[in-house]
């Protein structure tokens, strides 16, 4: 199908997906989680079950989004995701990036923005899943390090927020610091989108002219050993600078990723 014929339909699908996401968060938080908590097991088991529940829900959400024709996608290399102590990083062009990554990673932990712990649609789920808040920075780093050392697989976006189209890519050093301190493996995901989609300054109803296509590629692990020989402040600066240039090289500006206007 082309762009014109599906344009209005895709606005409807996008709106419906937002509603579904909100309702899904409420239903999980108010109905499913309380039932999960009745099952036997300690706090860690419960957290794992919640993460698993989020993963399955996101997998379903991805199926709905693509099944209704709102989005097309490919996801390459998922077998390399979900190892103990693995830190998964990705660039962040669209609102739905984390939905895909979580959907294809076995029961991952995430660092999520602090506002989700206050949002009535999401707060029960992110709390029960034991996700880490991105604020304040020092606590985020401590908790993320503890999660990785405990063997969690953790998803983070070094940009800290969605990419600002037309502006240079920026990475926050906190992710590099966490990686140097505690990651058993550092695995990059490169996300490319063929046209602006649910980016930072794009209202939800402004859907792309053609059906958008998202591409996720899981890259090779990044060797952290060289960085671990330097004092941590220098190591995290060097790793952060390397990651930034690595992502710039991998993504380029051709894929509509960060178009300069």
């Amino acid at each position: 199908m082309g762009g014109r014929e599906t344009y209005l339909w895709r606005i409807v699908v996008t709106g419906a997906c937002f509603v579904l996401f909100g309702l899904g968060g409420l239903v999980l938080g108010l109905l499913v989680l309380p039932m999960l908590l009745l099952l036997p097991g300690d706090a860690a088991r419960r957290r794992t079950r919640t993460r698993s529940l989020v993963q399955r829900s996101f997998r379903l959400f991805v199926a709905v989004m693509s099944g209704l024709g709102g989005i097309r996608y490919s996801f390459e290399g998922r077998e390399r995701l979900g190892r103990p102590g693995q830190l998964i990083i990705a660039n962040h062009p669209t609102l739905v990036d984390v939905v895909f990554i979580v959907a294809f990673t076995p029961a991952p932990a995430c660092v999520v923005k602090a506002a989700l712990f206050a949002n009535p649609f999401t707060r029960r789920v992110v709390t029960a899943a034991g996700y880490t808040s991105n604020f304040p920075t020092d606590l985020m780093i401590e908790q993320a390090v503890a999660a990785l050392r405990a063997g969690d697989c953790l998803v983070m976006f070094p940009e800290g927020t969605r990419t600002r189209p037309g502006q240079p890519l920026q990475f926050h050093r906190g992710v590099a610091s966490i990686a140097v301190q505690a990651a058993a493996a550092l695995t990059p995901i490169y996300i490319r989108v063929d046209q602006p989609l649910l980016h930072k300054f794009q209202p939800w109803y402004r859907v792309p002219p053609r059906p958008p296509r998202l591409e996720f590629v899981v890259g090779e692990d990044i060797d952290l050993e060289p960085y671990r020989r330097a004092p941590p402040p220098r190591a995290s600066r060097e790793l952060n600078a390397w990651l930034l240039s690595h992502y710039e090289a991998k993504l380029g500006q051709a894929a509509g990723y960060n178009p300069v206007r």
């Binding site: 920075t137 606590l139 780093i141 401590e142 906190g174 004092p231 941590p232 402040p233 220098r234």
Partner: protein, 82 residues
């Protein structure tokens, strides 16, 4: 029990080794953020190092009000002398 002089020496050593700061710039009045360019992420590395050095559990909260090298020395003193 460590004296304030010993703590000062530990803090100086940590700043020099971690951040490769010229020792002459480390005065009690030097502001960690503005003068020595230590940001919130560096502060985590610094606390981690001081924790290992002193063997004390240093919470991030107890250092929220630290602005200068002098503040930092005082905060560590309070902990190790407690």
């Amino acid at each position: 029990m460590q004296t304030k002089e010993e703590v000062t020496e530990q803090v100086r050593a940590a700043l020099v080794e971690l951040f490769e700061i010229d020792p002459d710039r480390i005065t009690p009045e030097a502001r960690l953020n503005e003068d020595l360019e230590i940001d919130s992420i560096d502060a985590v590395d610094l606390l981690d190092r001081l924790r290992r050095q002193t063997g004390r559990k240093i919470s991030a909260e107890s250092f929220r009000s630290v602005r200068t090298v002098g503040d930092l020395v005082d905060a560590v003193c309070t902990l190790v002398q407690a």
